[in-house]
């Protein structure tokens, strides 16, 4: 009954339309429809997922007085394009000129030999529209390139060349947008090295093959090594190796020729930003010890980018500080770096926001909660970067002090 009714409505309209159109025009119309259908089928066959693109975007520019302010975004697992856009907008509004963003190999070449750039293109385009520079971090191994039952951080030697091909393809595709590329993440931790013993020699080989291919693809690219984790682990530990020994080992193994700059992770934990560095302590100025290793190996001309840093203000984590301390320490850290570290290119706060709250202490590292609610440190950093007066207090005084 319904179908018949539908036919009664539709058929006369189609007949009327075909009357109005000449045969030539009708053929053209049919060809367009057929081509659209084929396009849709091709898209479906290649597995490419069209990413939702928000409308009404226009080119924006970062207004900042502190171009070294940078944040690490976590957009690779964000599902909604509108949230990617909001994250980047709030980065620009913060006054951060640069982001570090992870572009997992496993997400792009999940089928061997086929690159699916849809999501990556979307992130790069949206960042460009906000006037943001990107430092790209590459890592995570697709299923096909690693043994079954291993984690995404397990990169066998046999897959080094495949990873380098991805890095080269990435460098070529985004040559106009992305110049700085970090090879891997925290290779001095077993968990980031496929739960295998950390091995500087293997990382040097990965770095060498990646560096060569990236430079062939985009000679202007800047390859960053390291992104080493701050840790006190001694040689022989199953967890990893402290980054000072690891970096020294990289130099001894000839890594010097295979990177242009060093990426460093340094966290404050509970120490003030001015606390002096010591090999047995984890604190913000520990990066100075890595700098010494570079100088001792004749690499003082290479710059450093701190691609992860910050303090945590979770209410119960052992290594956290209070929200007001976190805000104050963060600003003082930027001020200290500006006054003392002429070799530093940018300092990136870990992290802007998780797509969903993790409901644990890692949430205490973000500048925004999952619902884009800014933490106190966001407002303080914004005032610092943009040269604004510090904001009014965000909270009431402790009840006992009233």
């Amino acid at each position: 009954m319904c179908i018949r009714r539908a036919k009664e409505i539709v058929y006369p309209k189609v007949a009327a339309l075909s009357h109005r159109l000449s045969r030539k025009k009708l053929s053209g119309l049919l060809a367009i429809v057929a081509l659209a259908g084929l396009g849709w089928l091709a898209l479906d066959w290649t597995g490419a997922v069209p990413v939702e693109q928000p409308l009404g975007l226009s080119q924006q520019f970062v207004q900042t007085e502190k171009p070294q302010v940078c944040v690490h975004t976590l957009l690779e697992n964000e599902v909604e394009a509108t949230k990617i856009m909001r994250s980047l907008e709030m980065t620009r509004e913060l006054g951060a000129a640069t982001i570090v963003q992870f572009f997992p190999w496993a997400y792009v070449e999940w089928q061997e030999g086929k690159y699916d750039w849809a999501r990556t293109d979307s992130i790069v385009r949206l960042a460009r529209l906000q006037g943001l520079r990107i430092i790209a971090r590459l890592g995570l191994v697709p299923d096909w390139a690693r043994p079954p039952g291993t984690t995404l951080t397990n990169l066998p030697d046999a897959a080094f060349a495949d990873f380098a091909e991805y890095a080269a393809a990435f460098a070529a595709r985004y040559a106009t947008d992305i110049q700085r590329i970090i090879i891997w993440n925290e290779p001095n931790l077993s968990a980031e090295w496929g739960f295998q013993p950390v091995e500087a020699a293997r990382y040097v080989r990965l770095l060498a093959v990646s560096y060569a291919r990236i430079k062939q693809a985009n000679p202007a690219a800047v390859v960053l090594a390291g992104a080493l984790a701050p840790t006190l682990e001694k040689p022989g530990s199953g967890v990893g190796l402290n980054e000072l020994d690891y970096l020294s080992a990289l130099y001894q193994l000839g890594a010097q020729e295979h990177f242009d700059a060093l990426a460093v992770h340094t966290y404050g934990f509970r120490a003030a930003p001015e606390s002096p560095p010591h090999p047995d302590h984890l604190n913000f100025r520990r990066v100075e010890l890595l700098r010494l290793v570079m100088i001792n190996n004749g690499d003082s001309h290479k710059p450093i980018t701190i691609t992860e840093t910050g303090w945590n203000d979770h209410a119960r984590w052992l290594h956290a500080v209070r929200p007001s301390q976190r805000a104050a320490y963060t600003i003082r850290a930027f001020q200290y770096a500006e006054a003392n570290w002429d070799w530093l290119q940018a300092m990136c706060i870990w992290a802007l926001r998780h797509p969903a709250d993790l409901r644990g202490y890692p949430d205490g590292y973000t500048l925004l909660n999952a619902e884009f609610l800014p933490k106190p440190v966001y407002f303080e950093l914004q005032a610092y970067a943009r040269g604004w007066a510090a904001s009014d207090s965000l909270w009431l005084r402790p009840p006992g002090e009233n």
Binding site: T151, H319, P323, R359, L394, W395, P398
Partner: protein, 256 residues
């Protein structure tokens, strides 16, 4: 009478049949298959009191005691491995550990590779009010002053409530304990806070009486690899034993 005997006989036969079928199909959990190293290797991030902390090399906390009790129930030693939060799931998936007992919120996005036990702690948000404020609940907060920790998940929820009820007064504090101080000292009508913070605060202020109502649920559970059915069955059964026997409640009361 004969009918009753027949029913009892039928029930017994069904039980025997189910048992035999279970045995034949291998559904009785096999301890050696579940934990082939002869120990239960537990992954835990020992930086999160009162669940787990590293006290000069000795791990202590609710998660540690709970994991040890589960291992005792199963009849194997527990071996703890202190792992950073971000690597916990990778350690489980790669077989470095057999189970994660680390105050893990149940994460639906992980369930393709891990299987969670039933929850052993609910760290959802609670609405706390003075004990004599009878009838104060989420339905009648208009005009009330509600304390929260600034920029917490409770703050996000309260801002949504505020959008619905303009009369609701949001009272943000830097620390969650300050929000409860404000309630205890009579500066606000209620506090919206996570259950653990409330419990720890109540322990420190045992003379203070309050009324509490769960608003959201945030269950913590133990995770095992999805394919390791034997491990899941054994851990879940042990947890159930501890729950039924009152040991789980005792451990929670001891630590939280």
């Amino acid at each position: 009478m004969r009918q009753r005997i027949l029913i009892v006989f039928a029930q017994a036969a069904l039980a025997v049949a189910l048992f035999v079928a279970t045995v034949l199909h291998g559904n009785i959990p096999d301890r050696e298959r579940a934990f082939p190293t002869g120990a239960i290797r537990i992954g835990v991030d020992a930086s999160y009191p009162p669940f787990a902390v590293d006290d000069d090399g000795a791990l202590r906390g609710l998660d540690i005691d709970l994991a040890a009790a589960i291992a005792r129930e199963i009849g194997l030693p527990a071996q703890f491995r202190n792992i950073g939060f971000y690597s916990l799931y990778d350690a489980l998936i790669s077989g470095e550990v057999d189970a994660l007992v680390s105050s893990l919120p149940i994460d639906a996005a992980r369930t393709d590779v891990v299987r969670y036990t039933s929850a052993y702690f609910n760290n959802g948000l609670v609405l706390v009010s003075a004990a004599d404020s009878s009838g104060l609940d989420v339905e009648n907060l208009a005009g009330k002053r509600i304390a929260v920790e600034y920029a917490s998940s409770a703050d996000s929820l309260l801002r949504r409530w505020s959008a619905d009820s303009t009369e609701l007064q949001r009272m943000p504090y830097e620390l969650p304990e300050y929000a409860l101080d404000a309630l205890r000292l009579g500066h606000v009508d209620a506090a919206l806070i996570d259950n653990l913070t409330y419990r720890l605060y109540q322990r420190q202020h045992s003379q203070w009486t309050s009324a509490v109502q769960f608003i959201t649920h945030d269950p913590y559970a133990i995770a095992v690899r999805r394919g390791n059915h034997d491990a899941w069955q054994l851990v879940e059964a042990a947890l159930e034993q501890l729950r039924a026997g009152g040991e789980l409640a005792r451990l929670i009361a001891l630590w939280a």
